[in-house]
């Protein structure tokens, strides 16, 4: 019994060490560094353009954008990305809740958008681990964006 506890603790310590190592290796980015890694304003404009090219051709998301003011949405989204990445911007758009009200967005559509964003970031050579830093900030917004599971 004692041996077992010792072994369990040893195993736990190994995991903790692994996790700590990983956490330390990625937490060294200052806020502004992230913004620059995404190519600053110009990079974000390009990513957002590519995102909308994907969204409008993706059958899972295209129906939501019929008659939508795409140019305005893109502008606001660039501002939002910029703020989330620690860039020198201000978000002047509506709240996420207001902007998505009545669209009947479900989880599958929300996740589809995440995939289309991943593709856009891939296309613009944003490293995977930095992509995840942006996605981590966007993910909780599902509560304001989706109407149903």
């Amino acid at each position: 019994m004692h041996m077992k506890l010792k072994k369990a603790l040893l195993g736990g310590t190994r995991f903790a060490a692994l996790v700590l190592l990983v956490l330390m290796s990625v937490s060294a980015y200052a806020d502004d560094l992230l913004y620059r890694a995404f190519g600053e304003k110009a990079g974000l404009v390009k990513i957002t353009d590519d995102l909308y090219t994907n969204l409008l051709t993706d059958p899972r998301t295209a129906p939501y954008f019929e008659n939508a003011p795409i140019r305005r949405i893109k502008e606001k989204l660039v501002e939002q990305f910029c703020v989330l990445l620690g860039g020198p911007c201000q978000y002047t758009g509506r709240t996420m809740k207001r902007a998505h009200e009545g669209q009947n967005i479900d989880r599958a559509a929300f996740n589809a958008l995440v995939e289309d964003l991943q593709k856009a970031m891939d296309k613009n050579d944003v490293p995977f681990h930095l992509q995840n830093k942006l996605l981590a900030k966007l993910a909780p917004m599902y509560r304001d964006i989706q109407d149903r599971e």
Partner: protein, 293 residues
């Protein structure tokens, strides 16, 4: 509406196995993100290799059905274990799984007096319910996704497991799993608390001459995503030690999981299972293929 049509088609395809070209042509029909559904653990539930996670298997979301089939092969110095099974996730809430395990004693069978290549067969019926939380999306809180699960296990070699001291050839495991993706760090963590009487996962029966009580066991997984489709990690699982004829030890593994698409994942691991049925320090390779629908 596009989304609704696909759900209907998926349900049909899964229930009647008819082809569904609209789905086949769409590379990203499922509603969840790559690798976030885990793979199939050794007992058939969605999770890591050795332990179930709180995630609901398959890439289906609330209005969708997701299903997986898997085959797993583990080979140590003296034994081999093969498992195959199916699982279905319903509405990202409930997961059902069926698995069949064959534990091959190979040459060890003769030394144990069972005969060379003696095999133990075990069927496992599993069910898991997501209680709360979203492991992937709730990135602004430490609250994990929590699920409760149950695994009914039935070992077909009742006479043999009784002869080695097991109290029963069938048993039920209960577990609670908490899973959290730390997306900004690209790390996934899972902890599982399991109440079990199983000897060597149930392959040597349930309960024994040393103890026939439920034991609380702890299981942990940690994974680091190298890319969208590639993750590495390790797992640890404690186990009861109920039989006096052979001590049972804890298990751990180090794995690489690769999901070239949403529908296929391949997991390779090094597993260390400790002593099994008097054979010391069993270690070896673990290989698992999962195909999703």
């Amino acid at each position: 509406m596009q989304l609704r049509k696909r759900t209907y088609c998926l349900t049909l395809a899964a229930s009647a196995l008819i082809s569904c070209p609209a789905v086949a042509d769409e590379p990203t029909a499922g509603g969840k993100l790559l690798l976030t559904g885990g793979v199939s653990e050794i007992e058939g539930a969605a999770g890591g290799g050795l332990t179930p996670w709180a995630v609901i298997g398959g890439y289906g979301t609330a209005s969708q059905l997701g299903a997986n089939a898997h085959g797993t092969y583990v080979r140590t110095q003296n034994f081999a274990l093969s498992t195959y099974g199916v699982s279905a996730g319903v509405a990202n809430r409930v997961e059902f799984s069926l698995a069949r395990q064959t534990f091959d004693t190979r040459d060890a069978g003769a030394k144990l007096g069972l005969g060379s290549d003696f095999k133990f067969n075990q069927d496992i019926i599993g069910m898991k319910v997501r209680l709360f939380g979203d492991a992937v999306l709730d990135q602004d809180t430490w609250l994990p996704q929590l699920a409760a699960g149950i695994q009914f296990k039935h070992n077909e070699q009742g006479d043999v497991v009784n002869a080695v001291g097991a109290a029963s050839n069938s048993g039920t495991d209960f577990y609670l799993s908490a899973t959290k993706l730390l997306l900004a760090q690209s790390v996934l963590l899972n902890g599982t608390l399991r109440f079990t009487k199983a000897n060597q996962f149930g392959l040597l029966g349930f309960g024994g001459d040393k103890s026939n009580a439920y034991h609380a066991e702890f299981e942990a997984s940690a994974a680091y995503m190298l890319s969208k489709s590639l993750a590495i990690g390790g797992e640890y699982r404690t186990k009861p030690d109920n039989l006096s004829f052979a001590r049972e030890q804890n298990a751990y593994d180090a794995f690489v999981a690769w999901a070239p698409t949403k529908y296929v994942s391949l997991t390779a691991a090094y597993v260390a299972l400790g002593d099994i049925a008097t054979f010391k320090n069993q270690r070896g390779a673990y290989l698992s293929l999962q195909v999703g629908f």
